[in-house]
Amino acid sequence: MTHGANRNRTVSAEGVARVEGEGSLRVVVHDGTVSDVSLDIFEPPRYFEAMLVGRHFSEAPDITARICGICPVAYQLTACSAMEDAAGIVVSDRVQRLRRLLYCGEWIQSHALHVYLLHAPDFLNCQDAVELAEREPGVIERGLALKRTGNLIMETVGGRSIHPVNVRVGGFYSAPEATAIAALKVPLERARDEALATVRWVAGFDFPDVNASYRFVALRQDGRYAIDGGRPISSDGLDVTPQHFSELSVEEHVARSTALHARLDGRSYLTGPLARYSLNQHLLPDVAREAARDAGLADTCVNPFQSIVVRAVELVFACDEGLRLVAEYEPPAPAAAEAVARAGTGTGVTEAPRGLLLHQYEIDGEGNIVRARIMPPTSQNQLTIEEDLRRVVEGGLDLNDDDLRWRCEQAVRNHDPCISCAAHFLDLKVERS
């Protein structure tokens, strides 16, 4: 790469590290201005949707769990929600609360992974988590302890922490014993303290001064910070049913990429922690809101680099919410509602750790899947990530190639794209000329 003195250049960075999946980013600078920014994804994305056609509706939670090793619960529970909507199955409040507890476990392990092992090295001048662990083992140990607590919840409720096996349409195969759930109290109390320490730690990082103009989209659940369902709302006044949202959010193929790019009413938007926090922070429990305030977060966060602080605040929330659910736990009996197929179409939405996840299925009278649509957070966020990249490049044209590439990688990691969810192996490149 050449330096800023040249007004025409192409910057390419292949393989942005610490992003789930593989993809490439290409930036073209012409006559001193950025003429093109593209986040390219290579692998055909929709095999899972094709795989699901012809399978029985009861299989969807286990099959879609394999889309992502980091957020399998998100896929399982969103699939369940969509299938239950299609078949008219109503789950009990106890089942729903147990699902929310399981989801808290996934948030804790996923956010701990991202904050400590993937994102924090960006702010501490470390190449990766290994270097950070060798420099500050106590800090990384705290992150791993948080992750273990998340895994413990997933194992206790879901049977195992990677691709849990206890989830089914209608509920669970078996309800955990009350004593098993009660045993989560002490680890969760410790985890909440560790999460609070995490907020204090990341609040001290140096953040570039960025004020982006985002169109936020998140779920709104009655009286609670949304995780396991709700209505899609936006920062510009949208408030619709999941079904209506699925009609408004249109995914399109872009020639350079095999992942779909989503637009809402024709425009880009952002889901994920920044959106959730900015739209729903007033629904956080006191302990999380106080942590956010002490960390210097306003009611809305539009600096993508501070997403690490928001994730830490959400860690506090997930631990606190987990404690509430543990305290209130009563084993659902039966563990699952009867799941009888009927022809229909159903839509399910939940808040995966990285943002809004939508599943939509059409099933026939035998319960076989006729059509499947899965819209992961990353395909919804991709256009906004590209807009962030354009801003970063425009503000960093004087940087040398390595520094600009690093800044671009950071811009991508801010949103923690799970590109393997969107396309299954993204290889990130940045180019400039």
């Binding site: 099959i63 992750k147 990130l428």
Partner: protein
């Protein structure tokens, strides 16, 4: 020695043809042997963190592509003392999120949670497309891979 001291982990995606070999072998082993703990299937080496802490022996089973004939079985010690940024450093990485086996071992060592010994049992594969079935060559290598893991476990028990 305690059965809890041996951890077996299968890395891979069961819906990706030969990539299913790791979870398959680990699962078979867990069904037939009571002296190991199957912590898989795992999607990434990073998933080992928190699951192999302090184990006496951690055996990781995964599919690889090294150019050897399909179905070949490799047994490789993951050893920080002799490893550099070579092939093993990226072993098991399926995304740029990932840290390779050596990186995970380094990280676990830094926080005092590494197993005493970590061994990779790698099966050469050729078919990794989503939705594909396992190739005949890799399917035929299952007994050999099982044998390799069993030998490691028995050797470890004799040393204990």
């Amino acid at each position: 020695m305690s059965a809890r001291d041996i951890v077996v982990a299968g890395l891979g995606n069961v819906y990706r043809g030969d990539d299913a070999i790791g979870p398959m072998v680990a699962g078979l082993l867990a069904m037939t042997s009571c002296s190991v703990r199957d912590v898989g299937p795992l999607a990434e080496p990073l998933d080992l963190l928190g699951r192999f802490d302090g184990a006496d022996l951690a055996v990781v089973i995964d599919a690889v592509r090294s150019g050897a004939p399909s179905g070949s079985v490799h047994v490789l010690d993951v050893d920080l003392a002799s490893s550099s940024d070579g092939e093993l450093d990226q072993a098991g990485v399926t995304s740029t999120h990932g840290i390779g086996l050596v990186g995970v071992l380094r990280l676990a060592t830094a926080v005092g949670r590494a197993p005493r010994r970590m061994v990779l049992v790698a099966v050469e594969g050729t078919v990794f497309e989503l939705g594909a079935t396992m190739s005949d060559e890799v399917r035929a290598a299952v007994p050999k891979a099982l044998q390799a893991v069993t030998a490691l476990i028995e050797g470890n028990e004799q040393c204990a």
